[in-house]
């Protein structure tokens, strides 16, 4: 209570100091949530690509891009250590969806269900409906990722138009926080047809859709690692772009590490400024209260007690700043995510860990910033302090 009265003595100054911390924590929460989201995407991707080899046509990546002849799948299948070969078509859901997109783009993914022979370890959970089966080949059915389904308010047995063709939805996935959330999964034959139609007519005229894929996923047979198989494929077919989970981590992981440190760095700089303003406020507050501190010391208030009171006060400033910053940051995260939900782009992910860290950090920051002026106050000579004008 006394503490709040002390904080309330200079309401404007206390508020401004709290605001300084608020901005810092706000930045930490917002950028931290952004980093969380990126990390979740990357972790999901890393998990997705682990334990398998993804092959694309030269110039493509992650089983996506230029057309690849399905013959490549037969070639790869003959190599040692190859367990299962799954040719597939990955393409953008819509050509209009170009430009910079944060997170994963929405995709159409086509492959023959079950071709992985049970080797896929990235399990998908169905919120409703069923998975595709090999019996679906030849019919226009689709399984939708959670974002995609929510975006169109689509339910099982509704129809959806994908690149001009109508598909009946048979299943909807649970959120995975990574690529499948924005994917429409369809049988391979349908995907091949859509893909070839999307190519320039000069190219597509010469192609039989049944022979064209964009990527091949290779699962190593037991006892063989993805890296070994990747090396075999690179040696046998230098014209293919080959990628493993390790490659994914190298390429994407290092880029996100830099992005993360930039984001967190910005937040830390704003917090350093906030911390300095706490030091300034507490130093002024101590100067104003010099005589009062003299009285307290004279009538028997110990040095430690004086330090404790002042440090608690600045810790409360830090805590309030942190709490308000967290609230504002969480509000922004919520609003932006809600706005982005319709387009399937969730920009932020605010975890309890981030929230807790932000408030704990600001409280500790406040306490540490208050320590310097508090120690100064405790060292004051009580007699000199009493005479201070």
């Amino acid at each position: 209570m006394t503490l709040l009265r002390d904080l309330g003595r200079r309401k404007l100054r206390t508020s401004l100091t709290i605001l300084g911390i608020t901005i810092g924590i706000w930045a930490l929460v917002v950028f931290g949530s952004m980093a969380n989201k990126i990390n979740a995407l990357v972790a999901g991707g890393s998990e997705f690509y682990t334990g398998k080899v993804t092959v694309s046509a030269a110039g493509g990546q992650m089983g996506f891009g230029n057309p690849l002849s399905i013959d490549a799948a037969d070639r790869v299948a003959r190599l040692p250590g190859v367990g299962a070969v799954v040719p597939g078509v990955n393409m953008l859901l819509s050509d209009q969806m170009t430009g910079v997109s944060f997170g994963m783009p929405q995709m159409i993914e086509g492959q023959v269900a079950g071709a992985d022979r049970g080797r896929e370890t990235f399990t998908l959970h169905y919120a409703s409906g069923r998975a595709l089966t090999s019996a679906d080949e030849g019919s226009n059915v689709a399984v939708l990722g959670s974002d995609l389904a929510r975006q169109g308010d689509t339910r099982v047995s509704d129809t959806i138009t994908l690149r001009g063709e109508t598909f009946r939805v048979v299943g909807i996935l649970e959120p995975t926080l990574t690529a499948p959330d924005g994917a429409a999964m369809i049988p391979l034959a349908a995907a091949q047809r859509l893909f070839v139609r999307s190519l320039p007519s000069l190219v597509s005229a010469k192609l039989d859709p049944a022979t064209v894929v964009t990527g091949i996923t290779i699962y190593p047979s037991p006892g063989t690692t993805a890296e070994t198989v990747a090396a075999e494929i690179r040696a046998a077919s230098p014209d293919l772009a080959v990628m493993t989970g390790a490659d994914f981590d190298r390429q994407i992981g290092s880029a996100t590490a830099i992005l993360n440190s930039i984001l967190v760095g910005i937040a830390l700089i704003s917090l350093a400024v906030g911390g300095l303003s706490v030091i300034n406020t507490m130093a002024m507050s101590v100067a104003e209260r010099t005589r009062e501190i003299g009285i307290k010391r004279a009538i028997g208030g110990g040095r430690r007690r004086i330090v404790r009171e002042l440090v608690t006060e600045s810790a409360v400033i830090g805590f309030l700043g942190g709490a308000v910053g967290l609230a504002l940051g969480a509000a922004l995260v919520l609003v932006v995510n809600e706005a982005g939900r319709s387009s399937g782009t969730l920009l932020f992910q605010l975890t309890p860990g981030t929230a807790l860290t932000a408030v704990a950090f600001s409280t500790v920051l406040g306490a540490v910033a208050g320590l310097v002026p508090a120690l100064h106050a405790a060292r004051l000579d009580p007699v000199a302090a009493l005479r201070y004008e």
Binding site: T2, R9, R291, E292, K296, A298, G301, G302, V383, L386
Partner: protein, 253 residues
């Protein structure tokens, strides 16, 4: 019965450095004894060292150790010179009470909380502190002003609240530095009568620093100082708690 010494100081010296090479010899070797139950005034012109003496007797400052003969300061028979800051703070909290000229109270606390602060420092908390603080405020006639902040109290009321705070832990010694310095004559008579009453009724030992001759005249004894030395320790009026002679009280009441 011979009076018991509560405070005994010998060879008390203090030199202050004012920055650079300028020093002030505030105390140049003072011997002083304060007896149990005595009400003593320390008087003298500005710069005579009377406040410095009070700060040393009140353990706010330590006497200089390295000027001439070794200084000694005994409080209740115990050596005070060798004590560290922490222990001196504890003794101030538990065995002493302080009243200053002005700005006695913590401005954000009510009168009651200010008194309770002294209890807190002495290790008494909660309901016991609240009860003791209320009683102390009652004794100085501020029973109904406990919830007021210092700014809502008159100068005289503030000094009485400070006296309540000084007395709440029933200290062995109360030191007052110009307690009436900022009050008009009527208020200062009230405050003085209050201090006198505690001295007479409870045998409270009191040391007052003042340059008001009327205050000095109301005390048992006056220690007169000049240029950092004691000039005269003659008794002004002989009044003892054991044989109350309420003349001085009557004079100011």
């Amino acid at each position: 019965m011979a009076p018991t010494a509560l405070l005994e100081g010998t060879n008390l010296r203090k030199t202050y450095r004012l920055g650079g090479h300028t020093t002030v010899d505030a105390l140049r070797g003072v011997d002083v004894t304060i007896d149990q139950g005595e009400m003593v005034a320390i008087m003298g012109p500005s710069g005579s060292g009377k406040s410095t003496l009070m700060h040393i007797l009140g353990l706010l400052h330590a006497p200089d150790p390295n000027h001439g003969p070794r200084p000694e300061l005994r409080f209740d028979g115990r050596d005070m010179v060798s004590l560290g800051e922490g222990e001196r703070t504890r003794i101030r909290a538990r065995r002493m009470g302080f009243v200053f000229q002005d700005f006695n109270l913590v401005p954000t606390l009510t009168a009651l909380e200010n008194v309770m602060l002294a209890c807190d420092y002495a290790g008494i908390r909660g309901a016991a502190a609240r009860t003791a603080a209320r009683e102390a405020l009652d004794l100085v006639g501020l029973a109904d002003r406990g919830d007021h902040r210092p700014t809502e109290l008159s100068g005289g009321e503030q000094q009485r609240a400070a006296i309540a705070r000084a007395l709440v832990n029933r200290p062995s010694l109360v030191l007052a530095d110009e307690p009436t310095g900022n009050l008009d004559s009527e208020r200062s008579a009230e405050v003085l009568a209050l201090l006198r009453r505690f001295n007479v009724e409870h045998g409270q030992t009191l040391v007052l620093v003042t340059h008001d001759e009327e205050v000095g005249a109301a005390c048992d004894r006056v220690v007169r100082m000049r240029d950092g030395r004691v000039r005269d320790q003659a008794a002004a009026v002989i009044v003892r708690a054991t044989e109350p002679a309420p003349r001085a009280v009557a004079a100011v009441a």
